[in-house]
């Protein structure tokens, strides 16, 4: 039976994350994180805020979906050398493999967004200030579902390796 692809959380990024038929294939410029923007004051929120603007000087209630910048720069990074507790899903029977976390500064939005790095990207591959881009990712799979997410990865450099 084919597994269904489902975003691990609804409405935080485009499509169902598989990139099929929507121009969102890996590395495609179509894949974006989705935030919301207040119609009154222009404040941008990620994760999305849909009911009330959180700017204390604004009474706005009309928030519309807005894609975030596809590229940013590394604000900081780390990794997880020990298995995190639930609700992170991992198979205790499989030896733990560290994942890398990247906090990315988006210039236009003037905000920092955290995410896992694409598989294979280790802390040794990263530096503060390095350009990265968001790409579709897979958080994990279970019997019926492939759970999709976003990954940060260093911006490829003309096929000659990483920037």
């Amino acid at each position: 039976m084919a597994r269904t692809r489902k975003p691990v959380v609804q409405g935080w990024f485009t499509g169902d994350g598989d990139g099929v038929g929507d121009g969102n294939g890996p590395g495609s410029p179509g894949f974006r994180l989705l935030g919301t923007r207040c119609g009154d004051c222009g404040a941008v929120f990620f994760p999305r805020v849909d009911s009330f603007c959180r700017n204390p000087g604004c009474a706005g209630t009309e928030l519309t979906e807005v894609p975030l910048s596809r590229r940013g720069t590394v604000w900081s990074y780390t990794d997880g050398r020990y298995r995190p507790p639930p609700p992170y899903v991992s198979d205790p029977a499989v030896p733990w493999r560290p994942y890398t976390l990247v906090a990315v500064e988006l210039a236009a939005e003037r905000m920092v967004v955290l995410g896992q790095a694409a598989p294979g990207v280790t802390v040794a591959d990263l530096r503060v200030g390095m350009p990265v881009e968001v790409v579709p990712g897979v958080l994990g799979e279970d019997a019926g579902t492939v759970w999709t997410t976003w990954w940060w990865r260093p911006v490829p450099h003309d096929g000659r390796g990483r920037v």
Partner: protein
């Protein structure tokens, strides 16, 4: 000053992994604080508990739980939840009751029996909880955030892993002299460097453990203290419990992103320094007046951050202040003379209260081998999940 309240009694339960319940720990600490104050439990008119659950940090029970364990006696009761800042907000509540004339004498208690390993959110599918989301989506544990801050300091200020290790060495040396600390052995830089990496660049000995523990205070009005024959008590002069200001641009656990500063400029003072600034303003003093500070060293690198946020030095100069010995016992301004969380570990609702116990012993001159000579003014500062900040200023 009219806004001061007196610290009549302090008490701790030794921290560690004892395998018993938090009610027992809290009761031991409460009885110790009452004995230190020379009061009976029946004298207490109000009890304020810092919340815990049975093994975690979202809060459900506290004040009444301790009132029951000590014996129902009809006292006013309050429970306070502010994550890691719960203890300080419990102190703020007690102080407000005293200053409002609602009670002359208030018992403040915080206790916890912490789970082993990483803290984790409560169970169930709860995608409306930012704490649940950061674990489910990213596996971002508390040490992961500490690792991000540490790496950022290395990139911005040139801090090194050796600087971070120096914080542990300093705090372990102080904690070795504290009978209530969980870890009472000196630690060397080589031992820190040999411990396994938890969240790059931080190692196991850079990150505070989870612990069982409890702390309690007996607070009262100054007139009440005089009537008890205590002419010169340690006094609490300020308790800051401020929230961040929008847009909050310092990435903090459990958030996955900061606020955007695109539409509204960021506030002139970031969150952590604003916590300290509010306490200084309320107390009418500044960093130059301090004899000592107790700060939340959840990681070694975070202690250096607090030096800067407290105004002990300029931004980026925390490691230099440490290297020159200013913040060690014997230095001009010892930080974490108790041994800090590095020596105690985290017992969430208790630790902000334990910080004030240490300030009290220090200002009374009762801190033994870890005594800061001539201590007159101390600050404790901490920060709780979900935007809770707290600092307490104590004077003698």
């Amino acid at each position: 000053m009219t806004g001061d309240v007196a610290v009549l009694g302090v008490g701790l339960h030794a921290w560690g992994k004892w395998g018993r319940g938090f009610v027992e720990y809290g009761t031991v600490a409460a009885r110790a604080a009452l004995a230190d104050a020379g009061l009976e439990w029946g004298d207490v008119q109000s009890v304020v508990g810092a919340d815990t659950v049975r093994g975690g940090y979202p809060g459900y029970v506290a004040g009444a739980t301790f009132a029951r364990a000590l014996g129902w006696q009809g006292a006013r009761v309050t429970s306070v939840y502010a994550a890691c800042a719960s203890g300080a907000q419990a102190i703020a509540t007690a102080r407000a009751q005293i200053l409002a004339g609602l009670a002359d004498v208030v018992l403040v208690v915080g206790a916890d029996a912490a789970p082993k390993g990483f803290f984790a959110p409560a169970g169930g599918d709860r995608p409306d909880d930012p704490d649940w989301l950061r674990f489910r989506l990213l596996g971002a544990t508390n040490p992961a955030y500490f690792g991000l801050y540490a790496r950022r300091r290395m990139a911005l200020y040139g801090d090194t892993a050796e600087d971070f290790a120096r914080v542990k060495v300093k705090n372990a040396a102080a904690g070795a002299a504290n009978p209530y600390a969980r870890y009472r052995k000196p630690v060397t830089a080589a031992e820190v460097a040999a411990s396994p990496v938890v969240a790059d660049p931080l190692r196991l000995l850079d990150i505070c453990a989870t612990s069982d523990g409890a702390a309690a205070l007996v607070l009262c009005g100054q007139e009440y203290a005089r009537r008890r024959g205590v002419a010169d008590p340690v006094r609490i002069r300020a308790v800051s419990t401020v929230t961040p200001r929008y847009p909050r641009t310092d990435l903090d656990l459990p958030d996955i992103a900061t606020d955007s500063a695109a539409a509204v400029p960021e506030p002139p003072v970031a969150f952590r320094p604003s916590v300290a600034r509010a306490a200084y303003e309320e107390a009418g003093l500044g960093p130059d007046d301090l004899s000592l500070a107790e700060v939340y060293d959840l990681s070694t690198a975070l202690e250096l951050q607090w030096y800067e946020d407290l105004g002990l030095c300029a931004e980026g100069e925390g490691a230099a202040l440490l290297r020159e010995g200013t913040t060690a016992l014997g230095g001009r301004l010892p930080v974490n003379p108790s041994g800090g969380l590095a020596s105690f570990g985290e017992a969430v609702p208790a630790q902000a209260i334990a910080q004030v116990c240490e300030l009290t012993w220090q200002l009374r001159g009762q801190a033994g081998a870890r005594q800061v000579p001539g201590a007159r003014t101390g600050i404790s500062v901490n920060q709780g999940l979900f935007g809770h900040g707290s600092a307490v200023v104590a004077v003698r």
